[in-house]
Symmetry: C2
Subunit: 342 residues, 2 copies
């Protein structure tokens, strides 16, 4: 398995990405190619006492970097020699099996769709964020497509079910439709129609509408929604969690007694914080593409990058793309393994 | 000031509503009318040692109750003798100044719009939930209108600004547009257009787009959004909060040491829980109507009901409806105080 890693991506590039690649190398037997400015990679490695040539990495030199401020289409226009652009191109040309980046989400999604392309029959690709709820919940979509038609909700449910089954090993994943009430007639016309399609799909385990108050309790394994609502859910969950945890810190730092109290629950709080850390599950898979692409969180540290690389390798090993193609357009399955659209 | 209270509404009816009315009576000098089944009110009061005739309440006897399962329009169709329906009718006939109910939100909004009616010039009335974020944030709308046009976003911003200024005493309330990015071109076509309208409105303090991750930190005083997104935000905030607090409880209950630790931070945690309790601010005001209507939380206890009644009285005392009318259609202001549309 050959994984491409965009080492120039994210807030902690390139050091944490280099470290993450080294950690991944020791835990899985993937061939890893580091894409980025070779001079920067060498000097940062040296400064940190890393002998970068000791790990059997391949290197691809690039001169440009897609920043968080760049427009999504810059990846196919102004910055064709960026690490992201070159990585996606190599992936589309069959020079590797999967691509991992912690960079600009919009650019990664646009670039993936235009360069790597979608599986034949897939109408929209989605960014499937794994939410650290009571059970890990795949949020389909978490921001790629702000408005979608009912048939796309169904495809998101199908792709999400394949991912949670193959990669997260959940038998018969529960699919919920994010809505503002449990009853089938709730929400927009699109949602009511989507409810009907999901209900009648033979290949998914649809449990009905799910509400905002239920999501944190892990009521479903795949939460199907448009990218606008999904992005609000993704970021509000993050905001509520960090605000409450910072508030809690204030409570513990108030005086000597509270500080002593904090020692007693230190272990429990640490575990709690860990449970809310979505990077345990790697990054967000872009689903519906003809090759696996993983979006690691922008603030990823070495551990998060390691998990994202392992996750990418696992997507390849389990033929996730083929399984999605089989689910979406079973009759195309034979020609679909390498198939792409548009 | 004369306030109508739907004592048959909410999970804790009628006892907590009766108690809440008694508490409100001692803290503000409003005349309170209890609407509900007089036999039930009498027997529940007696059972709980309350001399219901000691407080100077007026009573209006009704035989029906709108349940949480009833359709929104039941309030004007099947259940015209319900406490909610009779209360709204009395309000529209000028027999009182404001109405408080903890009942079915959909029915209360539909009934208010059809019976009490909107202020002339107001296109949609909204349910303005007060979110217990770092600063209290008025979520406009929190569920009444699932899809809205750009001009309605502007009216929500205006009405919300009046409320936060007059009732919550916030000078020059900061208005944020809920979106998936800070840049003005983010989100749906409707949101981009709404951004332009908000930006050019002279009478509000528009601070731009606000994201889900920022909301809990209290970045704005009025968060403008459609009712679908608003309802997701309302319920997800509730879900995240209760899930994290229950997780925290587990941490403290684990063993003897953690139980001892919990004693040290008991006060801080109690205050923290109180800060997240939105009922401190009363209920959710229905804004845009020709008379104040307050929706108390379904699970309201006596204290929450007391606060909702006081809030209703305060809306009357500050001429909130008139102030909203002045903001929305200044040229209509003279005839607007009692004006209504549709």
């Amino acid at each position: 398995v050959k994984i491409l890693l965009d080492v120039m991506s994210g807030d902690n590039a390139p050091l944490e990405l280099i470290k993450g690649a080294i950690e991944a190398k020791s835990e899985c037997n993937a061939d890893i190619t580091l894409i980025g400015d070779i001079d920067v990679i060498n000097s940062i490695s040296e400064q940190n006492g890393i002998n970068i040539n000791d790990y059997g990495f391949e290197f691809v030199h690039t001169t440009e970097v897609i920043s968080m401020e760049d427009a999504p289409l810059s990846v196919v226009r102004e910055k064709k020699d960026s690490s992201m652009s070159v990585g996606l191109k190599m992936l589309s040309e069959g020079k590797a099996d999967a691509f991992v980046s912690a960079g600009n989400t919009g650019a990664l999604h646009a670039g993936s769709t235009l360069i790597v392309r979608r599986i034949k029959g897939v109408k929209k690709s989605a960014i499937g964020a794994i939410m650290p709820y009571k059970c890990p919940t795949l949020l389909m979509d978490s921001g790629a497509n702000i408005e979608i038609t009912p048939d796309v909700y169904l495809q998101f449910a199908q792709m999400g079910s394949v991912y949670m089954n193959k990669i997260m090993k959940i038998e018969n994943p529960r699919v919920g439709l994010v809505n503002i009430g449990a009853e089938r007639q709730k929400g927009t016309k699109n949602l009511v129609e989507a409810y009907g399609l999901l209900e009648n799909a033979p290949d998914i385990n649809f449990i009905g509408n799910v509400e905002g108050k239920d999501l944190p309790y892990g009521v479903c394994d795949v939460a199907v929604t448009d990218g606008f609502t999904g992005n609000i859910i993704l970021k509000l969950t993050e905001g509520c969690g960090s605000m409450i945890m910072s508030r809690l810190k204030d409570v513990f730092y108030e005086n000597l007694i509270t500080k002593v109290a904090s020692v007693g629950v230190k272990k429990g709080l640490k575990q709690m914080k860990k449970d809310f850390d979505s990077s345990t599950y790697g990054g967000a898979p872009l689903l519906g593409l003809s090759k696996p692409v993983i979006k690691a969180h922008g603030s990823s540290d070495a551990k998060a990058i390691k998990n994202a690389v392992k996750q990418a390798a696992y997507c390849v090993e389990t033929s996730m793309v083929y399984e999605i193609a089989m689910m979406i357009v079973p009759e195309l399955s034979e020609q679909n393994e390498a198939g792409c659209s548009e």
